[in-house]
Symmetry: C2
Subunit: 432 residues, 2 copies
Amino acid sequence: MNIRRFSTRDATFDADLKALLAFETAQDDQIDLVVADILRNVKQRGDAAVLEYTKRFDHLDVAGLSSLEISQVELHAALEALPAAQREALQQAAERVRLYHEKQLMSSWSYTEDDGTLLGQQVTPLDRVGLYVPGGKAAYPSSVLMNAIPAKVAGVEELIMVVPTPNGERNQLVLAAAAVCGVDRVFCIGGAQAVGALAYGTETVPQVDKIVGPGNAYVAAAKRRVFGVVGIDMVAGPSEILVICDGKTNPDWVAMDLFSQAEHDELAQAILLSPDAEFLDKVAASAARLVEEMPRKDIIKTSLQGRGALIQVKDLEEAARISNYIAPEHLELSLDDPLAFSKKIKHAGAIFMGRDTCEALGDYCAGPNHVLPTSRTARFSSPLGVYDFQKRSSLIMVSAEGAQKLGKVAATLAYGEGLQAHARSAEYRLKK
Amino acid sequence: MNIRRFSTRDATFDADLKALLAFETAQDDQIDLVVADILRNVKQRGDAAVLEYTKRFDHLDVAGLSSLEISQVELHAALEALPAAQREALQQAAERVRLYHEKQLMSSWSYTEDDGTLLGQQVTPLDRVGLYVPGGKAAYPSSVLMNAIPAKVAGVEELIMVVPTPNGERNQLVLAAAAVCGVDRVFCIGGAQAVGALAYGTETVPQVDKIVGPGNAYVAAAKRRVFGVVGIDMVAGPSEILVICDGKTNPDWVAMDLFSQAEHDELAQAILLSPDAEFLDKVAASAARLVEEMPRKDIIKTSLQGRGALIQVKDLEEAARISNYIAPEHLELSLDDPLAFSKKIKHAGAIFMGRDTCEALGDYCAGPNHVLPTSRTARFSSPLGVYDFQKRSSLIMVSAEGAQKLGKVAATLAYGEGLQAHARSAEYRLKK
């Protein structure tokens, strides 16, 4: 296996790094047209359209959409039927994720000024949220936990999950995860038709206020299109890890940490920064040896050879600067005093500190969310959280006295902007 | 002037309300194609492309983009040249907006578990933000304040404003507002080419991490397209106000408050809910009389006749329910004990409480932001705030002891999902 090597001393390093990171989520026009058609149909014809697409794409032929709903009894049966170790792991993970996310809850606040004017923000949960769960190979129960628990902690009243079940095959781990999280309703539908059903509502599927969760290119295109009608989470790119190591961690550990992103997807990106050239050699050797043992070795090789890199930096200061440029989804600080080092990090989805903190712990059970900004979007966005399922309303209650002072300021500015009704409405409240 | 009247007792009320609110921001395919072309060109050719479009659309022919930058000296000169009353109003408004937004600052947090594992979130500002300010009739200095101040409070290092100046005409109020807010750099460019310059960066215009601010259909389409490369704020629809009144407020005041939204735009929406039919008559009479005095009476009439409504409700409880369905951008509670009533409100951009609190105060100087969710999006989104210019990174530092417990849970779940490298990387940290 040949993972690319760079050094920041290379004359072409800046251009090489830019090329390495280049990734544009191509918006496929053909997919977009198909999706537009599906959405229009679902909006106009509701259940009937969803049933037709489900028959065509998932080979499920049923009389009514209600027969594609999975009952709470079935969800809990799926949980009970799991091997004990798996059930307990799921419950322990859910409990830790819940505890962490409870720290994110925002509360309403207000303050009153001397003249009695009250200002603040009222924080409320979204009413109803849709959770998309992919079918097939990317159906991860951990993903159900990470999307559903923040919504429930926020106080969302009704959480509606959709999951395609081609040929009627149901993923029992996913259903068990839904039971653990208290998902309220589950429909066996998927694709753009499921996104449309959630966004517009049908006779059977209630309209939601926001749709979250990962999906394929059709689902992503559908989410982009219904944005505005409902809220959506980020459209995620391929997964990424950046490891910064001082050279003193077991190279096998670092190689396996790189694999743990690479195994997700051929387009996943795993990069190691170290000032120690010999250590980079050792990690390369570990990777070459260990990859042959991995069941997903083909994916890992394609990912690491196509988009991975081992980069020699001058020192750890330079590593921090490069990391801030990359703004990685996952950042491992495998070095001494990682907490102090973390203060140098400006942009990252999640920061894993210390040699014992492998990224896999964060994916499942440390507590923080595993839905994180990819493709350099950590420059401006955050992990999925409770705050994504709450929203704020400004509170303004101006006292009669406050209205005298503010009214004059507002009227002056309103006249300046040529908005006379604004000015007059403020002036009405002035005591003559 | 004929404003539509409804009663919730009408058999067709639900359908009438839905039709009244129906508004889809049409995504014009023709505009979208033009914008795609402009963005591609700016991305590839940088300054040269921006200069060509600026010549074509704004009739400004200059040798280099740097000659379209406005210096800090000019910005401050614009502020000094204002009439004293206007300058002071601008400064007072800015100060109040700043004080309010300082309450929104998020801080980093973390906690340590019994076994020494640390979890938390690190909060950091965005590095660089672009602020789009429209030219022409919609160039509002208050809009500069409302977009720039939260960014500066968040700690954004560099705030870059773009504003088109067709034929070289510069709006002195807008430049003065930029000076008041501490905008760092200003370029006289606009349209999709300005959005492209900010998103991709050119030789002269630095690349930003997020673009905020209102714009026309071309600007909105460009923002949608660059979303992902940079962050964007919401794409706003027409402005809206909903007034809930018990019938005891001066009907002239309520009519003028409805005007203050209607005067923005022919498509703006102003709705009044009251249980008092006679009061609705009085407001209609006030509106018919007062509109003739308004300089913007044509816009107000078109807006109120096309999209306005006076709705008789059974009682104020019902008014709250209807308001939660509408999820208005601006909600005025013109009634007794508005603070108690506000607890019934689940979805609204801003809640103006009490007969003295006209919406115009909030537009300019009460303190809260005037960039608010429109078109029912208050169901899932919030006013623009400091939180839009900060982002979070998860912090995870697992102790050696914690890694034992968490490693087993993670490995169990990872094997369940068929992700063996995840499992192995967690198992490496287990002490044999």
